[in-house]
Symmetry: D2
Subunit: 223 residues, 4 copies
């Protein structure tokens, strides 16, 4: 089973992004029956669709798991949906800021991620890792990634399941914010999660995806 | 230099408390010039004053660093003050709940912790660990620990500096809350910090305390 | 122009619900060119679809604006989407708790509200009322209301625009929570908004809907 | 009974401050047996002590109730303590920013407000107004006001009770923040409270103060 694992490059004046670091860390790793191939996506409205097409063509995955950073999040956030809308709170890495813009004109309103979100949630809690099921991935690049991945897989007729995990800040990112020029404007609480915990969470999620894929394949072969 | 490191036993239906685990982990450890001796305090209004007297008499420390758990906190919280008041949001481990009760009748309103809080803050941020200086330790047992430690050291004529660090939940504690009966009532965000990060934070704080004690001693010997 | 304004009955052990109070307050009111007719919906998975059908048949509206309570929200929350999923954090008023249940089997993943959400947002801020555009109405009855209203209007071939506003607690509801048995478990901050401010917000939103409907009608008649 | 009611001028780029507006609104008002005289204090470390001396000399109050704004607070926050420390998250209206600076060198660590905080809390909740007892007024000008008022009254040998209420943003202030240049950096939730609710809260607090003063005077005259 080939799994494409994507992360995003750093953005918003940070030089780190846990999604990038975990994608790189797990690249070429074998987790159970799953062979992981990682790619990094641009934080760019203009370039993300082409980038997704490229990485899907290069890797032809059976499973797609995308990772992104959600600043001020405290848990592993398992995204259920992607919506056909871009409305950016801050500019992207090209300095562009979409406002109320459809990702695909005439596209369907929303899509659902198809990896076993509830099983991942249960597995993370069982492993002692805080997680939550989420109904919105925001309207920045992470949401665009979900919506456009669905579209790209559909165009290819690919049966690959896909999903998205949002990750908290790394502790080092919060420490940098607290030592930085906007410190006096930060909320009193800014959560983080260690790279080790987040990496373990992604490995567990990959395991849940694989198990579920195998179960479906068996069910299909029996019928 | 002998440092007394205290933690608290678990409370509020949890079977874990990071302050206890870190105190035990660092017990008998030598960190630079500091020899650590750890003790665990009861989450009990009725028993904490005697417990503090006992551990101070047993250990005769040059420095006292106390640790406690602050659920829903996201950072290492460095406490500046202890107040002469107990007003508990929940019952303690004896089932008792103090309301607007002075810790020491006729005692002074507030006391300041005397370890180098700002230096600890700077050292933690420099190490990439989220931290904040705090003006209130709440009015539960942690605040009582600060106020009563000050009183106990003063009664002994001890020059030992003392301080208090509040710690976030462990990831496993948040996962247990999310899997537990009150899950539907929790806020959307509940922060945590890994035991590794918190242990490193306490070691760094101990290092800052030691450095500052040595500097003071040198200054005193010169004068 | 006939506008159906819906509110929800109280739920979750409260005896108040601002959405109900505002719907009743504005019932039979004329706001500009809009004639308001109000109805109260049950907080019940089993009964809401039939209730919506009944009120739509009774009122045959040109516009539908639904209101609901979002505890712990601080602003007027303008909902952009409804999703085909029920996943309740707490039981409904029948004591039933849906988990990962489709609202309409084989239904589309998500629907978008069609009132001029951005214009309402701008009008509320201009009037000094805190508001935000929201990407998720949760997965409780409010989301079900959005999704099922869309379905019911579509089944009728109705061109009526529809939308949803989530409202904060009333101050009196927060005061009751603070005086109640769960006070020690509440987050430090629980926001509220006065009934007057919320009622004014709904009137402003109705005005924005009407203006936009008139503008569309004129555009249509010109072409 | 003469009550001095103080508010603060606007600060931090806002042109409003609910504490100023309520102080002005209630100036010269008679509330039960209480005659209110209001004064506005500068948001200035350099000028606040002199300003407090001046207003106390001018008004010779039997009671002092000070009001201040706590942005991002959701309730009426009743302050129990003032600490001998200034540590500003942002500059004051003179552009000055105190860091770890004692308000009165050699002054006591902390002081307690002496109005009946618990009775005010109970009265506010009974009136349906969200309120909370607070252990820290921050380390900005509001805390300085508490600490320095205590010192100024003590210097005068005044038996006047004094206290402090922190107020949330006005709805219009939050709307202005949401429409302003820092909107994309704000937390998702920013609470507010209507001027009417806050004014009623201050009137209720004044009533509680008066009742308690009368009760003490009677008790004193009996003994």
């Amino acid at each position: 089973m080939n799994l494409l694992l994507t992360g995003f490059e750093p953005f918003d004046n940070s030089d780190r992004n846990p999604s990038l670091e975990i994608a790189r860390e797990l690249d070429r790793r074998r987790i159970g029956d799953v062979q992981v191939t990682s790619r990094i996506l641009p934080v760019s409205m203009q370039r993300i669709a082409v980038a997704l097409d490229t990485v899907l063509d290069e890797t032809r995955p059976d499973l797609v798991l995308s990772l992104g950073l959600a600043g001020h999040e405290s848990m592993i956030r398992i995204e259920r949906f992607g919506m056909n809308l871009a409305d950016f709170p801050i500019a992207d890495n090209d300095g562009a800021r979409s406002v109320d813009q459809a990702l695909i004109p005439e596209g369907t309103v929303g899509v659902a991620t198809t990896i076993p979100n509830r099983a991942i949630y249960d597995a993370l809690l069982a492993a002692g890792i805080p997680a939550r099921l989420s109904n919105t991935a925001g309207l920045y690049l992470c949401n665009a990634c979900i919506y456009l991945t669905h579209a790209a897989l559909t165009r290819r007729g690919s049966p690959a399941r896909f999903g998205f995990l949002h990750l908290p800040y790394l502790p080092e990112q919060v420490a940098a914010l607290l030592a930085g020029p906007r410190a006096g404007r930060l909320p009193e609480q800014v959560a983080s999660m260690s790279l080790e915990t987040m990496t373990r969470a992604v490995e567990i999620a990959i395991g849940s995806c694989a198990q579920s894929n195998v179960a479906s394949a068996r069910a299909a072969s029996r019928s």
